[in-house]
């Protein structure tokens, strides 16, 4: 990853080997951060595996910090989603097991 331009509060990150999958999820979480005044991403060319992610903050935190927080939030979200899913699946299997008749 390279930080292309910007002062502390505004930076463009070039995420290599990434696409909409990660960029849009991060954009969603960054947009939900009240200290981020602008976030957007673009994929300059469809056959180049790179995403340019632009972050500008209101000054309370740096762009790097905002991105770090977004990553951590996404991890936390995934962790909860995984455990909830696994739990629901186990529960489903149990109820299926008891209902199953030969």
């Amino acid at each position: 990853m390279t930080v292309a331009t910007g002062a502390d509060t505004g930076a463009t990150f070039a995420l290599e080997d990434e696409d909409h999958t990660l960029a849009n999820a991060l954009r969603f979480l960054l947009n939900k951060n009240p200290h981020v005044s602008f976030v957007g991403y673009s994929i300059p060319h469809p056959s180049e595996k790179v995403v340019n992610l632009r972050i500008q903050t209101t000054g309370e935190l740096t762009a790097v910090e905002a991105l770090r927080q977004a990553c951590q939030s996404l991890k936390q979200l995934c962790g909860h989603m995984r455990s909830t899913f696994t739990e629901a699946y186990e529960q489903y299997e149990q109820t299926q097991g008891s209902d199953e008749s030969p």
């Binding site: 999958t21 990660l22 995934c78 962790g79 899913f85």
Partner: protein, 374 residues
């Protein structure tokens, strides 16, 4: 200034209120805005409120905090497993955003690794199916091997038992004494796994250091389906080849995609916008049998809407009716924006629930990779 329950609430109060209020209530969105937030409205010609309003400051003027809160997510998020049938499953993700649901869908299709035939070494092929066509068909055959037990092979590196699983196909079509043909159809079951490695290691640049069973366990590597027709032959024709499977992802080629498809749709809901009474209620119930029922009797009888999910085939009709003059403003089809009905159809390489948890792990790994660089 008012006494806030939390720091955030008191701050809001400061911004929103004038003279000293004695109580602080959690401000709520006006009903119309809340509806725009929660639902896509499916009009007869176009959908309304399609976008998800996800800016933190969107409702700041109303004193409402729209920023990300894990606590709130944790409180609201639910998963319901609807069914698992063989290698397919349907479940519901409730209380998440399309950004996350779509990221997982994309990962399922393109980024969960599997094993697939990548190199085919043809020794002889006298059948009418061309080498490259046969090779392509072989590539698409689902291989049952846990991709976690294998490593990705880089470029020209020598194949080993840790990177490559090898199948052999050696088949000849002949006449039987009764003038029927033997091996007229070449099925995928004819592909034989070679745990000992390539039988022509020089030509294929492949050297196993140990039996592959040591790597993959006693179940070995097998085919998901043994009844895939690969080629047809006439007597005297033969196919002899060695197929080398490698680890890859659907991003490079669809043969590595672990799903036939994975998709989601939004939870539909049918709303009555006003009381529909009397003869009009009968008429609506006749238009939408089962979905709309008439409650009560006499002149005060009313239309009531049942569960939209039980009457999916009527939903497009609801959409059409909502644009017709008679029913405009009476009935409406809506879809909940944070309720995803997720379907995963696995190719059989991995179980669908395994696929979903692996997809989540891959998304976490992406975050970790990014965090490393920050």
């Amino acid at each position: 200034m008012g006494e806030g329950k939390s720091g955030r609430a008191s701050k809001k109060q400061k911004a929103a209120s004038g003279p000293s209020p004695q109580y602080v209530e959690e401000p709520v969105l006006p009903e119309n805005l809340q509806q725009q937030q929660d639902y896509v409205t499916c009009g007869d010609a176009l959908n309304y409120n399609v976008s998800t309003a996800d800016s933190a400051q969107l409702f700041a003027a109303l004193g409402i905090d729209n920023s990300w809160s894990f606590k709130k997510f944790k409180k609201d998020f639910r998963v319901v497993i609807n069914w698992v049938k063989g290698m397919d499953m349907e479940f519901e993700l409730i209380g998440t955003s399309p950004a996350v649901a779509n990221a997982l869908r994309r990962i399922l299709i393109a980024e969960v690794p599997t094993m697939a035939i990548e190199h085919v070494f043809l020794v002889n092929n006298t059948s009418i199916i061309a080498d490259e066509v046969l090779s392509h068909r072989l590539g698409l055959v689902p291989i049952r091997a846990d991709p976690d037990l294998f490593e990705s092979k880089a470029g020209s590196e020598r194949s080993t038992e840790k990177t490559t699983a090898i199948f052999k196909l050696d088949i000849r079509c002949t006449w039987r004494p009764d003038k029927t043909m033997a091996n007229e159809k070449v099925m995928s079951a004819e592909l034989k796994w070679l745990p000992g490695g390539s039988q022509m290691p020089e030509e294929t640049n492949c050297q196993f250091e140990q039996d592959q069973r040591e790597v993959v366990g006693p179940e070995g590597v097998s085919l998901v389906h043994e009844d895939i027709l690969l080629a047809k032959m006439r007597p005297g024709q033969e196919i002899r080849l060695e197929a080398h499977c490698m680890k890859g992802t659907g991003a490079e080629h669809a043969k590595w995609s672990p799903v036939a498809t994975a998709w989601y749709r939004l939870q539909p809901e049918v709303m009555l916008l006003k009381e529909v009474e009397g003869a009009q209620a009968d008429e609506l119930a006749a238009e939408l049998p089962g979905l709309v029922t008439v409650q009560g009797s006499g002149a005060s009888r009313k239309a009531a809407v049942g569960d939209a999910r039980q009457h999916e085939k009527l939903l497009e009709k609801v959409r059409r009716l909502s644009g017709e003059e008679t029913w405009r403003g009476c009935i409406e089809l809506r879809k909940r924006k944070d309720h995803f009905i997720y379907t995963i159809e696995s190719t059989g390489v991995l179980r669908p629930e395994q696929l979903f948890t692996r997809a989540i792990d891959i998304l976490v790994a992406k975050c970790d990779k990014l965090l490393e660089h920050l």
